[in-house]
Symmetry: D2
Subunit: 143 residues, 4 copies
């Protein structure tokens, strides 16, 4: 069981996410990370769409991914999201993507993203206090 600071999103692979290798294309995991962090924030009461309407955008400034095993159409995947660093402007998240099929889960991909608070003109700004506090509450302290 993952600690409370790890959020889990589960959803089926979509057909169009596969490529001619017969597995999910590697760029798709970047979308899945985004799905994971959006759901993680929402669960804690932070609606990212609403945050953008307030004029605060979280722009991705760094992403990394390591692929360990392929995801395939026909299975469900789990995205585990946790926050691992909170600064004034930036927040770092880490992800694990697992195959949810069968009795045991297989680790497919690990990765991270670094996000910066920006205004609608994409200039760096300080994170609003309520958002920063929320991220600090979500901060994974173990693992």
């Amino acid at each position: 069981m993952p600690p409370a600071t790890v959020h889990r999103s589960t959803f089926p692979v979509r057909y169009h996410e596969s490529d001619q290798m017969g597995v999910v294309h590697h760029a798709v995991y970047v979308h899945w990370f985004e799905v994971g962090r959006t759901a993680a924030m929402k669960e804690r009461g932070l609606d990212y769409a609403e945050l953008e309407r307030r004029g605060v955008l979280l722009a991705v400034i760094d992403v990394g991914l390591r692929y360990l095993a392929p995801a395939r159409f026909g299975e469900e995947v789990v995205v585990e999201t946790r926050i691992t660093r909170v600064e004034r402007v930036r927040v770092r998240l880490e992800y694990r993507v697992l195959s949810a099929g069968g009795e045991s889960e297989t680790l497919l991909c690990t990765g991270h993203s670094l996000l910066a608070s920006v205004d609608p003109e994409l200039r760096p700004i300080r994170m609003p206090a309520d958002v920063r506090e929320l991220f600090l509450e979500m901060l994974a302290t173990e693992d």
Copy 2:
């Protein structure tokens, strides 16, 4: 040789556009239609990005596609774009996607899209006179 009112864009299939059937996923042709009409407008001096900055957006309100043969990674495709109707608010375009490989071209897909001029709040507006005139000039009168 197509008439002057038909614009041709040629580009290679991208790997991620394939799916596990080993061919280009059918949704990708919607992207290609967009590439085709953007290039067709640009060739005539209409920069769609600039048009949006003027506050005029062309929103797609209807699309149709018929698939005749699959496109594959490794080949180049041609998108033929022509305008077939110009109204006050709307413009209709038709497309043919062909495989550019080999000595003869194979027809892969035909389709159309209907676009409506809208303002940034997506409310219908009349097309600016210069844009409408350009579309009328581009209007395919034969075929």
Copy 3:
């Protein structure tokens, strides 16, 4: 309440599905139709991934979409899928995409797709009897 022959899939809009108009890009609905029909089949016990492993692929040969109102990141959408025609080789599906937010649903998009049974070399084949029977059971007879 839709009739039993209409399957409903509900899921949140993904951020990357938006475009610079601030709404979901029109090609994304083609993906959503695919999500809808995959889920509709699965609910009836037909795993499309398994069908492909049996050597039966359902290739899309025609798609049409009408856009009535935009979907936006931050909301959930519902895809309603129903089968409206079953032939020896082909099956026709119709879709309605609705916004699930708020107390009432708004119709965003309607469309259809026509699929043909093909073998792994993409040559048309008769639909296996069990698949055809299932599609006939799913056939929407009203509306």
Copy 4:
């Protein structure tokens, strides 16, 4: 001018690659890296589609990206690709994405990918001798 071991691909941003921040979505650069390396190989006579037909697939096992400035619809981008390491099974590539608009180029994104030779069942295999030699010739020795 980049050294001969750096390959440059230039193409326009596609509309659907933008997101509601008004800039190109960060996952798209993963596609662009793929476009860059496919073109780089092709220029040297290595058709990746043909390589797959020989039973040799290059699977991505690690990707990293740093975003410095946003790409926008309406401009052309350049992807610079170079090979920076060649092993028995794996090859490492590095990329720079630049905005091609205006008189000077702006660096938008840097990144890398690590690819492994695998067979069609995705099991690691040694790179064929001709491919390995070609990659060694392409190996960037300066910069």
